[in-house]
Symmetry: D2
Subunit: 191 residues, 4 copies
């Protein structure tokens, strides 16, 4: 929140002004309101996504689907923007008539399976993932929105690494929460 109420001294703010200042005590400082997302917030949101996936995976290992499913629902509610409209979500392993998951139900089915309406979903987050990391190639900052494109690497309990090409659009709300509006994930071509 510090970012929101930054006060910068006159010396800095007026470095490019030649005039002296003696025109009113109200000018002792300028208040800055910055609603833009930052690269650091984007990186934290990616880490948060990875950590949430690992948490669902470990929760499933210890508590089964009855523990994993509500956790996944909570993660989707807080990390995606489904409550505001259709999210553009193309999961890595989804295909056919259910390639795209514009609804919360479709996202939940992809992550934890066990939904008869999505019979092909095995639950990507139920695998025994041990680490997850993002390597960005491009980050675009557009006000409260940011796009990232790069690879995400998932390592399972046997040390096998799965690499996916992944694009995210994140949006920052005025209360500081970061939500995913777009998520396109695909296996490498020929991989």
């Amino acid at each position: 929140m510090k970012k929101f109420f930054a006060s910068i001294g006159l010396f800095v703010a007026f470095a490019s002004f030649s005039s002296s200042l003696s025109h009113g005590q109200e000018a002792s400082k300028v208040q800055i309101f910055d609603s833009n997302i930052t690269v650091d917030q984007v990186l934290k949101a990616q880490t948060g996504w990875c950590n949430a996936l690992l948490k669902i995976s470990s929760t499933y290992a210890s508590g089964g689907i009855n523990a994993a499913k509500p956790l996944a629902a909570q993660v989707i509610n807080s990390a995606y923007a489904y409550q505001y409209g259709p999210v553009a979500f193309k999961p890595t392993l989804a295909s056919g008539a259910q390639t795209f998951r514009p609804t919360k139900e479709g996202a939940l089915a992809y992550f934890v399976g066990n939904d008869p309406n999505y019979p092909s979903d095995k639950g990507f987050a139920l695998k025994d993932w041990r680490s997850c990391s993002a390597v960005n190639q491009v980050i675009q900052i557009n006000g409260p929105s940011a796009t990232t494109m790069g690879d995400v690497f998932f390592t399972d309990s046997k040390g096998v690494v799965t690499k996916v090409d992944k694009t995210w659009n994140f949006v920052r709300e005025n209360d500081g929460s970061i939500r995913i509006m777009l998520h396109h994930s695909s296996l490498p071509f020929g991989g």
Copy 2:
């Protein structure tokens, strides 16, 4: 441009105001300035992309690479945002260390090949494409930016259809031009 200088009558603009108006002749109309991208502009940009691809393909068929390459360069210059910064571009058939194409050179190589720096590129636009169409699943409008996610279908001269899952972020500039900031394309999983 009509969109930019729309003047709407008081009756419309003030439908929700209860007061009568007799307060100044300057109020005869309200000027509207709308910088947002519209769904129609997005659909036109997708059609434009498809048509440009078909044009490069037919130009190659009739004039060879010496005709196709400058056309492709011109298309990339006008349809993508490379002159302003790195574009997030993951082409369908790119992989390995050259999966992502944040530069204009990488985009050109993908579309028309014939670049020793990109030895795997055969030139996607050089194939004998005959039709190209987009089927959107989600469109998100965010001011001057829009995201589309869905499938694009390419049909070649033998009638073979290639389907790709495709995400675009378009941005509209104040002069009305629409540019691609993000382009993530992938073959269907298991397809």
Copy 3:
């Protein structure tokens, strides 16, 4: 909320595409997510501001400052963006070292006075206003933000009309709430 989940038929969405569609049942409709503010929402926000002012005025007339002050605080909390950062607020009758009111306290003092830290404030909303209406000259729509410039007319119980030149920047949040980020109000020059 209807705006958020509009589904438009293929016929409309694909009017500009020449190809026929027989490529997958998932394409029965496109989901639209539109986060932009609309002219209608802007006009409603202006009316809401006027109505809130009249309500504070009538509440003061019937219940005194002890009733008017909490109402004004509530109005400021919901109609301005102070909880997110400094609002750019230059009230009509503020001057000197307290011309600008970047904090909630300064806004409250302006509307209902009775704050020893703002000794010049008489409470603009405590006057016996009977009507309030906006006449816009320019409306600019920039994604979730909108600017309006024009006049606002305040009529008191004696029928005296006060006209002010007024500029607002409104911002729409993803939950649909509209907040004022900028409010510059001034008496007409020479008036």
Copy 4:
């Protein structure tokens, strides 16, 4: 332009990631595209506005209206957004039916007068201004747009200072140019 192609090392970009990186040579750096306006750009735009005003004033003193008018037209063309739509402009000394200047003609008349369609305009920029400086109270950064609110001080050849309360909305285009979308200026209340 440096801002557009910043490459930041992995060490910085991945400070918040725990995993080691050995997954592909393409990850040697991340490309950043940042289209947001910065506080520094805003301050430079304000200085530019002041300097342009002083230049029109001195040009008028040396070359008369025939020199000042084309210069003013050029300044308006490059510093305001009239070519894209109606600008929200309420000049300090404009009033009555010509309080607002949504067109380029109205802005030009305000700055240099000598337009029979705007008989009250004396030409604000034709006065013998010697210095001009802005003292900001609030700056709001919203992606490519920024709002500033504060005072601007104009000093003439006799050393008389005129203070005005001034609000600007600036917008940054992808080519880096900064344009004024909103300009509300007013004499201090009771001042």
